[in-house]
């Protein structure tokens, strides 16, 4: 393996890990703060990708914008969608067992997948990247690296920094952290915890939709794409520790590295390596790498 190939694989691992972080951070927030296990989180990623596929041509035709206009519309829609979804399906599950949450969100997956099949069919579709991001940058003497993948990593890093800032430095972040440790106490201090939960859920949905939208030009859109991401994100959350954003970031990068280099060195076992990593970490630390958020 030459230095240039190694570098390309490193960038791929970084980009994949950061994308996983975007999806897994929403998942871990919803777990950690609301105590809800959300199987439908992968569906939001899928919805995001299909939004990019459906909205980009529409935005180009009617609004004169392209990919980024679609991205903006998609984010606004996803926040509204998450807000309504929490109100309709999730809000009365907080006091129930995890089992009921599993079942409810499993039902939502089936509904989302079939609605997707009715609206967009079961074919694989490509999504065009914006023209000015379509090129590649030279890397070493022979290799090049697509600009769009660098752009994806940059977006993920920006979102990660924003997320850390909101959680650690703002009033809303304070309410969120307080709500995670003691729901009743926060309520008695005059903070509307139901509203905080709804915001967290909407933000989680928006993060997954954003990940799906920016990933669409690279991965294309296809049936079942959400479930694949969901299960890898479970692994990320388990490794990182539930509720820990920092843990999700470290674990996502770790999974990105293991998966990318696993495909290079052990192509037959690549599908399993991530789970072996999870098993090893569980042996060492059953509660994940970062236990407390």
């Amino acid at each position: 393996m030459t230095l240039a190939t190694f570098l390309v694989q490193c960038l791929n691992a970084l980009q994949y890990g950061l994308l996983l972080f975007l999806v897994a951070s929403g998942l871990t927030l919803i777990f950690g703060i609301m105590g809800v296990i959300n199987l439908a989180h992968g569906s939001f990623y899928m919805i995001g990708a299909y939004m990019a596929y459906a909205l980009s041509p529409w935005a180009a035709a009617h609004l004169g914008g392209g990919f980024f206009t679609a991205l903006g519309i998609g984010l606004v829609l996803s926040v509204a969608f998450g807000y309504v979804l929490e109100w309709m399906f999730i809000s009365y599950l907080y006091e129930r067992e995890h089992l009921q949450q599993v079942l409810m969100t499993y039902g939502l997956i089936l509904v989302f997948e079939e609605v997707r099949s009715i609206l967009a069919g079961d074919d694989v579709h490509g999504v065009a990247a914006p023209a000015w991001l379509a090129g590649s940058v030279p890397l070493g003497g022979l290799m090049t690296y697509p600009v769009y993948r660098l752009f994806m990593s940059a977006v993920c890093v920006a979102v990660a920094i924003g997320l850390f800032f909101v959680i650690a430095r703002t009033r809303l972040g304070m309410a969120i952290r307080a709500g995670a440790s003691n729901r009743e106490m926060v309520q008695s201090l005059g903070i509307d915890i139901r509203f905080v939960y709804r915001v967290v859920f909407a933000a989680g949905v928006a993060l997954a939709v954003l990940a799906g939208m920016i990933a669409a030009p690279v991965s294309s859109v296809y049936p079942g794409m959400g479930n694949q991401v969901l299960i890898i994100c479970f692994v990320v959350v388990v490794i990182g520790g539930i509720g820990s954003i920092r843990g999700a970031l470290v674990a996502a990068l770790l999974v990105g590295i293991v998966d990318t280099f696993g495909k290079v060195f052990f192509p037959q076992a690549a599908g399993m390596l991530v789970y072996v990593l999870m098993a090893a970490i569980l042996l060492w630390r059953p509660e994940g790498l970062f236990r407390h958020a």
């Binding site: 009921q100 599993v102 388990v238 599908g271 569980l282 042996l283």
Partner: protein, 329 residues
Amino acid sequence: MTRTLPVALAVVGLAVFPWLGGKFYVDLAMTVMILAIFALSLELLVGRTGLVSFGHAAFFGVGAYATVLLSSKSAAPSLLWLLPAAMGAAALLAAAIGALSLRTRGIYFIMVTLAFAQMAYYVFHDTKLGGGSDGIYLYVKPVMGLGSAVWLDLDHPLPFYFFTLGCLAAVFAFLAMLSRSPYGHALAGIRANEQRMRAAGFSTYPYKLAAFIVAGALAGLAGFLYAVKDGFVNPEILAWHQSGSVLLMVILGGIGSWRGAVIGAFAFVALKELFQSDVVFGAFARHWQLLLGLTIIAAVALMPNGLIGVAAQLRARRRASATKIAHAG
């Protein structure tokens, strides 16, 4: 008496069913019985021990794959070693997965079992071990006999039907006895309050692991029956949809009741057949998963105690309205 009568009636009903129902419905009844065994094995974990496993399809699938991979292509394998081997393979996997996953609890446990089951899925999907994603056929079905005399040939539908019914009855009786044994009481204690059980001197980990292994072996039995019935297995039987379906059966029927698991399996198959039927839903039957999803959502919202709890729910409501009337008068 009121508890055993419905069970006895169900057994008698199933025993005479092959002479009453058509071929299609007899086949469906076999599917229900196999899934009922699968659901019963999960009920041991979810309802009796308080362990929500979302990867139970792995043991079902490994039992089915072991059945196919261990039998020869030309001669009929003997049931006497093939069935224990299939259950043993599933139990072995359950021991490995359980030993690791039981170090975690709650949400972690749900996710970890799902992830390990997915790992097993990839083993069969990505490697050539079991024919890859195309699956693999069972050429000759197992028999039971001594020397050249064959007592039971599972290639014929009627013997297979009664063999499956016998397995279901045996599993039901075994689990009912297990829950009345000291071991079963210990599991109930773990479900109610694990900390307290530990304080009372129980080392809870081996109890939970044993339950996980027994449940895995019973799921392997269901997998064995599935492989023999269809004569074909593919990786989809290990997929997480299968784990979700069996969890759905247990919850649909009602947690905490062995009968609930059987009723849940029946209700699941009936719903699936209904939603997939062209006669009722026409072209929309292609999107049967949409209707299934909406049913699940409605069931969670309206029947928190499952089908078996609906009667109690209605009774409570009637009593409440009766007292209201009494107070008003």
